[in-house]
Each structure stands twice: as C-alpha cells, then as structure tokens.
C-alpha cells in the first residue's frame, strides 16, 4: 500500500482576509464576505455584489514587499504571492528547494484582470511601455511562473484549468505524484482574480445573483463571483514525520470524473456528482456514515444546487451529515474554489465545527435535505468531504481525515 499523503502547510487569501484567523472568526460569527464592488472597474459595479478582496493591487504589492505601480505582476500573481508568502510563514523554504518537489497551480483566465483594460492599446501600434510589461500575461501559467521565479524555485511545475474544479485537481495531482514517488513534496492550489470578463461571462449566462447568494435555497438566484488564492503543502506521511511537521489532515480520498452530459450544466439528476463522491469515499475506504461534514460546491445556481443536492441525497440518504456551501463567505472563486474550500473543510475538522450555510431560508421543493443554516460547534468530525464541480462536466471530490 502506498504511503499516505498529508497536509502540513496552508496559505490563503479571500474576501474574508488573509490567513486562518481572518477566516475562522467571520465563519463563527456567520458574517458573510460578499459586498459592494470597490476595486473592479465594471459598469455593473453599482448593481452587483462580489467576493472581492478588500485590497488594491498596490496594497497587495506592499504586503509582499514588491514595488507598487506597474510592476508587471497581474492581480492573479499578486494574490498567488500573498497566499504563498503566508504558507511560507510556517514552512522553511529550503524544503521546497530540495529536489524533487512539485508546484501545481490552477487558474481560469490568467492575467485577464489586467489585459481586459489594456487590450486595445496592446494591439495598436506603439503600445505604451508600461503595458508591454503585461503583454503576454493572458495565459493561466503566468502566475505559476511568477511565483516560481519570485521564490527562486526550480520545481516540477504544472498549471491546471478545469474551470471551477481546477484547484481540487491540483491537490489530487500532487497527491498522485507523491504516491508514485515522483516527488517528495508538492505545493498545490490555485488562484483567480476578479475580472470583468468572468463577471460578464456568468452574467451573460444569467447565472449571477445581484444580492448575496443563497445556496440550496428554493429561491436562490445564482452565484456571486469572488477572488481568492490558496496553497497547501502536501508531503508523504513519513517525510512529514521525519521532519517533525505538524500534520493538519490526511488526504485519504479523491476522485475526478466527468458528467459527459452538457458543456455548462450538470446532469440534473446528479449522476456526475454522485459518481465523484462515491469514488472518493471508496478510495478512502469509508462509508457515507463516516463523513462528519460535507463542504458542498453549492454555487447557488439553479442547476448546480439541484444536481448536487440530489447526488448528496442519493449517496447519503435523507439524513446526510451536516453540509454547507461556504460561497456566501467568499463568493465563487472559480479556479481557487477547490483549494480554499478544501482548507475550510480541514479547519472545520480541526475545530470540530460545521461552517454555516448563510442566507438559507426556504427548503428546496425537489429535495428532502437541507444545509446547516447556522454554526454547529463541538461536533465529532473525523472525515470531511469537499466537492468542486465545473464547466465541461469536470467534477472532483476530496476526502480529508483527521491525522
């Protein structure tokens, strides 16, 4: 049997702030993170609410000790560096310089947040010099490469883009590489910055709620876009024990399946989500009754919550473990959703608490189950399940267990 893969380091930034305390506090107080737009320059700014991180690009640059202004780093890269530098508060960077090491990032639109503002100047003759710095940032690997360069790392690198399940795939790939012996450690995660491109994309699909989202509610009206970055350090259990590292959780199960149903909508009966969760549990050698908390994908779109709710009901029955969507705290952070919600799941297990599903009022007619509407404390959680489902039918479920 292959060695177990454990999580020994965490770095995160989202609309709730940076680091663990910034997240746990509002979650305990049921204080959502969705608010009016301050930084994104969209004509829709007055009408929408978002999971926007309350820092300008200059604020982020200062936080990580970079020059402000046009420094060539997109917001996506700045968020990635903010999360990575937080992870490195607890992890000696020399560990990541030891071969063999993998750095696996995930992203959906690269430096779009900058490129959408300068694209016409970029195409025109005589592009302004400050814009030339960003000219080739419209790809998903730009933040991965910049983080690697910033810290002088030479890892095995990968960037994944499977829409909203992207960074769950990062964790899964890192675990597989460690189990195969290809690498000893891996930093896995993802990042996405808000862009008008993404906001308008989901708006054109009529998937955006102009009020804070209401996951698993009969009267839900769509999602709120958010931005975030998160990374976890994964390593083999013997490697973690050998260096005396504090083990936060064990990644005991994972599964990646595809709906093979529709380009953007999940199969309405939840077949895809069911298969993914089932396979992840099987890999962890767990029964549904062993799971103490489910962090649902729960985007609050009509389609997702119906499909996912039905899948949970099919696998766990009408008395499932407490489940919630944490999207009202952070918005839907797309490529970062998988990693930040994996982190929330591990914290829920560590703190023995169920994170509330904010804004839930009305039971969904199609379901016999409902999410946990408020904080539950002192609850026994030995194993957690975290779901991420994306466009293209890309589904990933992860199972974390107590060390």
């Amino acid at each position: 049997m292959a060695e177990r893969v454990v999580v020994t380091g965490i770095g995160i930034i989202s609309a709730l702030g940076r680091g663990k305390n910034a997240h746990i506090g509002p979650m305990r107080r049921s204080q959502g993170g969705i608010h009016a737009i301050t930084h994104l320059r969209s004509v829709h700014a007055p009408e929408f609410v978002l999971g926007e991180i309350n820092m300008s690009n200059d604020d982020l640059a200062k936080l990580i000790g970079l020059p402000t202004g046009d420094n060539g780093y997109t917001r996506t890269t700045l968020l990635s560096l903010a999360a990575m530098s937080e992870l490195l508060n607890d992890v000696d960077i020399s560990l990541l310089r030891e071969e063999p090491f993998a750095f696996i990032n995930a992203n959906t639109v690269g430096g779009m947040s900058k490129m959408e503002d300068i694209y016409m100047d970029v195409l025109a003759p005589g592009t302004r010099p400050e814009n030339i710095k960003y000219i080739d940032t419209l790809d998903c690997a730009e933040s991965t490469e910049n983080v690697r360069r910033h810290y002088g790392l030479k890892p095995l690198m990968a960037t994944i883009s499977t829409a909203c399940s992207s960074s769950s795939n990062s964790l899964m790939l890192g675990a597989r590489m460690i189990k195969s012996g290809m690498v000893k450690r891996a930093v896995c995660g993802g990042s996405d910055a808000l862009s008008r491109f993404t906001l308008n994309g989901f708006y054109s699909l009529k998937n955006v709620d102009k009020k804070p989202c209401k996951p698993f509610d009969q009267n839900r009206g769509g999602l709120n876009i958010g931005e975030a970055a998160g990374f976890c350090l994964l390593e083999s259990e013997p490697a973690a024990i050998a260096r005396g590292a504090k083990i936060i959780a064990v990644l005991t199960g994972y599964a990646n399946t595809n709906d093979a149903y529709h380009p953007t909508a999940p199969s309405p009966n939840g077949d895809g989500a069911y298969l993914t969760m089932k396979q992840a549990l099987e890999m962890a050698s767990l029964q549904p009754g062993d799971i103490g908390y489910i962090n649902a994908h729960g985007t609050a779109t009509i389609n997702n919550d119906l499909a996912e709710g039905r899948a949970i009901q099919k696998l766990f029955g009408t008395q499932p473990p407490p489940f919630s969507s944490t999207k009202p705290f952070t918005g839907h952070t797309l490529a970062a959703a998988g990693i930040i919600e994996a982190i929330f799941s591990m914290w829920a297990m560590e703190q023995q608490m169920v994170i509330p599903n904010l804004n839930f009022e009305t039971q969904m007619e199609e379901l016999d189950i409902s999410p946990a509407p408020s904080l539950i404390e002192n609850v026994l959680i030995n194993h957690v399940l975290s779901n991420s489902f994306g466009f293209g039918g890309s589904n990933v479920s992860l199972v974390f267990s107590k060390p």
Binding site: Y119, D139, T144, P155, I160, A163, N200, N258, G392
Partner: protein, 323 residues
C-alpha cells in the same frame, strides 16, 4: 517514472497534410508571412450540423482530431481524456473580451465565453464518447502537452484497469496573438519563407504556427507503433543540464547517445536557442539523422505534438520524409 506509453494511434491537424496522412508533404505547405495556419479538414464528419454552427474553429479542430484519433485506435470510450493547451480557444477569448469592451458590458452572447474555457474540448469529447472517467486539462505554456503525457504515465502506473487514454494538445494562432508575440520579439523581423527557417539560425526569432495533436496511448504494446519510455521536463536549462538530462534518460533505458538513429529536434531557427541545440547535435554520432519540424509546423507552445506525430509517422512507415 518508466511506465511506457504505447502509442496506438496519432492524429494531427496541422499546416501540413497530416490529417490526410497519405498526402504528407505532397505537397509541402509553406508560408511567406511567418504564419503557418492549419489546413482545416471536413469538420462535419464527427460533429452534428446543429452543434457545429456555433462552434469556434479551435473547438471543431480539437474535437475532430480527438475523435479521429480514437476511431483510428478502435476505441469507442477512452479510460481517460487528458489534454494540454497553453491558450485554449484564443479566438473565443478575444471575441468575448472585445465584445465586452465595445458593447460596454451589455447584451453579451455567452457562446464564446463558454468556449473560451480551457477544458471545453475535453468536455465535448467526454460527451461524444460518453466518457465519465478521469478528465484533465493542463495549461502550462510549453509543458502543456508533455504534462498530458506525464499524467497518462502516472495514471497507467496506478492500480486500476485503465487501458486506453486519449492524450494530446492543441493551440491556435490568430492575427491578434501574432501581433502580441511580435511585440515581445518572439518572431523574426526579416521573415524568411517557412521552408528556409533553419537557414536563418543566426538571427533571433522564429515563425508562428498552430495545430491539434492527439494520441491514443496504452499500457498494452499489442497494437502500438512506438512507445514513449521517458519524459523529462527542464526549467530554463543550461546546455550542460540539457546534455546531462539527455544522458540520464538514455541511461535509464540502457542506451548511449551514439545508439540513437534519429533525433527529432524542435529547433525553431531562433539564434537565442542555439546554445542549447548546437551542443546537443554536436554530441550526436555522425550516423544519427537529425530531423527538424518547426519549418513545417511553425512555433507555438504545443508544437512538440507535431514532433511526436512525426516520430510516430517515421516509426510507422520506417521512413524519414525529406523535409
């Protein structure tokens, strides 16, 4: 990682006659403006008339190359779909972004937004083959296609009964993307006709291209033409690091560089890469045939797929085409 990837079938849509392989280099297709665009095949063969109307060319191209690759392998439903693309459907991303700017974020059509998602080709092939298994999209610049193959190696070495995997990669050239890369000196200033690209190795820059390359790979050597035994990816290596890595890969297979009959090499005519390429070639035996391909494919992030297709072609026909 030494799990061999036996290549059961290969399908490439490129600027050359590769999709209709029997006409390869008959004639060789060329470009004088430094932009090699693909020869579009009949996309209605695998895609229904209803679906095809709204599809962008990258989506049609990716689906068609992938579906033909599986058909050639006799595989109806693969055991995984793993694809690499550095830029996905560039046209869709450009169109949605420009519409958004011009129409000031009002009344936008979501079609190009959906298709600009990097895993849209993966999703379509999964739907068309009813493949609910593992599905992955790598988007890491020049490593995108290699990561697809590396993941396939990993997957076939894991417990389970997976046997036939669809791997590959694609990227698209657009006139706007050409302008962007031109501004960062990616291309040659004095553009030679594409067949003469490598005769201009003394100046910086290359020429542009695009393509879609798919490979059905298996752990079963039965129907294979050739196999990939090792994959090594290096970050901005020095010449010595490249030579050491080459020697290491060969020694893992009990080979020396003198044993190599053919080196398929992605030299792209950019003088800035010569410090890597020249020592490698100098290190080869006089009897080694050096095969270049970027004068046929153009340069782009997943162009190595053309090289892999060509390698497979050479093994299949036991013949090195005069390029």
């Amino acid at each position: 990682m030494t799990q061999p990837l036996y290549i059961i079938s290969a399908c490439t849509i490129s600027p050359q006659h590769t999709y209709d392989e029997e006409h390869f280099l008959d004639p060789a297709m060329t470009a004088d403006d430094g932009q090699l665009y693909v020869i579009d095949p009949d996309y209605t063969r695998y895609i229904s008339p209803v679906a095809i109307r709204r599809m962008s060319r990258m989506l049609k191209r990716g689906i068609t190359a992938g579906m033909k690759c599986l058909e050639d392998a006799g595989v109806t439903t693969p055991d995984a779909i793993i694809i690499g693309t550095a830029r996905g459907s560039v046209t869709d991303m450009e169109n949605f972004m420009k519409d958004m700017i011009k129409m000031e974020e009002q009344a936008l059509n979501p079609t190009s937004f959906i298709q600009s998602t990097y895993n849209s080709v993966n999703g379509w092939i999964a739907m068309m083959t009813k493949c609910t298994a593992y599905n992955q999209t790598y988007v890491h610049r020049g490593f995108s296609l290699e990561l697809s193959l590396l993941d396939a190696q990993l997957l076939l070495s894991e417990p389970g009964d997976k046997k036939y995997l669809l791997t590959g990669g694609f990227d698209e050239l657009t006139s706007e993307y050409f302008i962007i890369r031109e501004k960062i000196d990616y291309y040659k200033k004095d553009i030679p006709p594409s067949p003469e690209l490598l005769a201009h190795y003394d100046t910086p820059g290359t020429i542009a291209g695009e393509g879609a390359h798919f490979f059905t790979v298996s752990n079963d050597p039965g129907k294979a033409v050739c196999a990939i035994h090792n994959i090594a990816m290096l970050q901005q290596p020095s010449a010595k690091e490249l030579l050491d890595a080459t020697a290491d890969v060969l020694s893992q297979n009990r080979l020396k560089i003198e044993d190599i009959d053919i080196l398929v090499c992605g030299m792209n005519g950019d003088s800035r890469n010569r410090f890597l390429i020249d020592p490698l070639i100098a290190n080869c035996a006089a009897s080694t045939t050096i095969v270049s391909f970027k004068q046929l494919s153009g340069e782009y992030d997943t162009a190595s797929g053309f090289g892999l297709w060509l390698t497979n072609y050479i093994c299949k026909h036991n013949y090195v085409p005069p390029a």
